[in-house]
């Protein structure tokens, strides 16, 4: 029963966020998104109902969450483009705003989100592109990370498998193989350490505004809300 109530609160929050955030999207805007976020999706679909917008999705490896997002936006009639994660610098000059969700919003106004958000935020700041975060207030956490290693441990992710588009120099195989191995799979010795964190931390100074169900907040207001919530 509480679970259902929580789900209802969550949906209502998402609607409120979509309403406050959609005003920031202007007609003709190109929006860069990272990862798959239902909050961001509802915001952009609401905006697309009254304005012409287009979306660029970063591929979001290793789970290719960006492809999932691209399929959704395409199904909802929004012109969508997909680029590699490594293209974030290349594409930034053609982008009007960046919009991401958040797994958690921390006390200093920063966010914890899918790996790649931090780099994206730095890139956006350098280009003067506004960086917006859409997150419900129940994601506010009493954490105060000082740097990337300061995040709580998030459980190990499996070693990355590089699939289908890997070049032959990486796979060591040319053409189609019949030895039963999956084409494109890379075999690395276990001496090579693979670091695959799920999330990174984006400090507050790179974030322009947060769209939450409490309204549009600046990063300094997050701490204000948290102090009031936990007093």
């Amino acid at each position: 029963q509480r679970g259902e109530r929580f789900a209802d609160i969550s949906l209502a929050a998402r609607d409120r966020i979509a309403r406050v955030g959609a005003d920031f999207v202007q007609d003709g805007h190109v929006i860069l998104v990272h990862g798959w976020s239902r909050v961001v999706a509802s915001l952009l679909t609401l905006a697309s109902q009254t304005k012409h917008i287009s979306v660029i999705c970063l591929e979001g490896r290793p789970d290719a969450a960006g492809i999932k997002a691209a399929k959704f936006y395409d199904n909802n009639g929004i012109p969508t483009k997909v680029v590699l994660d490594s293209a974030m610098g290349f594409i930034m000059e053609s982008v009007d705003m960046v919009l991401v969700g958040a797994e958690g919003v921390v006390e200093n106004g920063g966010i914890v989100n899918k790996l790649g958000t931090y780099g994206l935020a730095i890139c956006a700041k350098e280009h003067g592109v506004p960086f917006y975060v859409a997150a419900e207030s129940y994601k506010f956490a009493r954490l105060y990370p000082l740097h990337q290693q300061d995040l709580p441990p998030m459980g190990g992710l499996p070693r990355i498998d590089f699939v289908d588009t890997a070049c032959w120099q990486a796979t060591g195989r040319k053409g189609n193989d019949t030895d039963g191995g999956i084409p494109g799979r890379v075999e690395l010795s276990t001496r090579v350490e693979i670091n695959n964190p799920a999330c990174d931390f984006t400090p507050a100074k790179f974030i322009t505004l947060l769209f939450t169900d409490l309204g549009v907040l600046t990063t300094s207001a997050v701490s204000d809300e948290l102090i009031r919530l936990y007093q």
Partner: protein
């Protein structure tokens, strides 16, 4: 030099200010000996540091209230007499004749005055003494001692094995934090940065060495050399301004500036939060003994010994208070939360 500074204290005045302080004199004739004694300790710099000065002041007030004996002519409401004959004269004497009061002292004095004002109108002498002494002791206990313990607890999760911590000068709360970390058997080392003329960092160094914490001792001019090894910087505070900037011992701003890319944590109890905003370091600063800068007389050369400086809030990663770690932008919120009765 004289014209560019907006210092309210005329820089020339310092020549007379430090010719020595004599006990009593015209100002001190009607004051208790405890007040005069504390005043001398302030003026001579024996008691330094926000917490120490405030605590000493409150303990003297405790003693004065204990010995308070209003003349028979005072009947009914004792509060105005207490205020004008006990609290105010002492505070004025210390501030005007010994050493300008710190923000911590000022806030504590304001608290004491409002505690007196909130007493019942016709309270008996005995009860007045009891209530006030208890209030003062509670203030010291809660807002200094417990606060320091809470701060040490909050910082604890940020200090990991292998950390190289940089500290500046001497701060009571920072020392408590470091000693507690040592008790928890964490492996870390400390770089103590010190500066002339007060060389307060030596107190910190001695205390850390007694606890067998590996230390490096340098003067401020060497700081950029060691900064690349530092993982975190811990700074104490004399006061926090509402915009999140830090008022600390002169040199603190240099440390924070050099440590831009590192985490700079400021440990400060909430009672030191001032409701003022200062825009730069010179206005309202305090002058120290110019002879400590350079001895010897030179015709047109004036020695300037400033005691405090202002660190802008964007150089601070986080402020650790007893309420937890907050970003510098939230200092105003803390002031509002901790003093709900005061109209700012």
């Amino acid at each position: 030099l004289h014209s560019i500074y907006l210092c309210p204290i005329d820089p020339l005045q310092h020549a007379d200010e430090f010719s020595g302080v004599t006990l009593g004199g015209a100002a001190g004739s009607s004051l208790d000996s405890a007040v005069l004694k504390l005043g001398l300790l302030y003026a001579q710099g024996v008691i330094r540091g926000g917490n120490a000065r405030c605590r000493a002041m409150l303990l003297v007030y405790c003693q004065l209230i204990e010995e308070y004996d209003p003349p028979a002519s005072v009947i009914g409401d004792l509060r105005p007499h207490l205020d004008s004959n006990l609290l105010k004269p002492a505070f004025q004497y210390w501030t005007e004749h010994c050493r300008p009061h710190s923000v911590s002292m000022g806030n504590a004095f304001t608290f004491l005055k409002s505690a007196v004002a909130s007493l019942e109108r016709n309270i008996s002498l005995g009860e007045l003494k009891e209530v006030l002494q208890e209030t003062i002791e509670a203030y010291i206990r809660e807002r200094m001692e417990f606060a320091d313990k809470a701060i040490a607890g909050h910082v604890s999760c940020k200090i990991v094995n292998g950390d190289v911590l940089l500290v500046y000068g001497h701060s009571e709360v920072i020392l408590k934090v470091l000693l507690q970390q040592k008790e928890l058997n964490k492996q870390f080392r400390v770089i103590c940065v010190d500066s002339r003329p007060l060389l307060e960092g030596r107190k910190t160094l001695l205390a850390l060495r007694e606890a067998c914490i590996p230390c490096t001792y340098i003067l401020l001019n060497c700081i950029s050399y060691v900064m690349k090894d530092v993982t975190k910087v811990l700074l104490g505070a004399s006061a926090l301004m509402t915009d999140g900037s830090l008022l600390g011992r002169v040199g603190t701003a240099c440390v924070a500036l050099t440590a831009q890319r590192k985490s700079v944590l400021v440990c400060c109890e909430t009672y030191k939060i001032s409701n003022r905003v200062q825009l730069e370091s010179i206005t309202g600063n305090e002058l120290g003994d110019p002879n400590l800068v350079y001895e010897g007389k030179q015709e047109s050369l004036r020695m300037l010994n400033l005691l405090y400086d202002l660190t802008p809030s964007n150089y601070i990663s986080g402020i650790v208070t007893e309420m937890g770690i907050v970003p510098p932008t939230s200092v105003a919120v803390l002031l509002r939360e901790m003093n709900p009765n005061e109209i700012i």
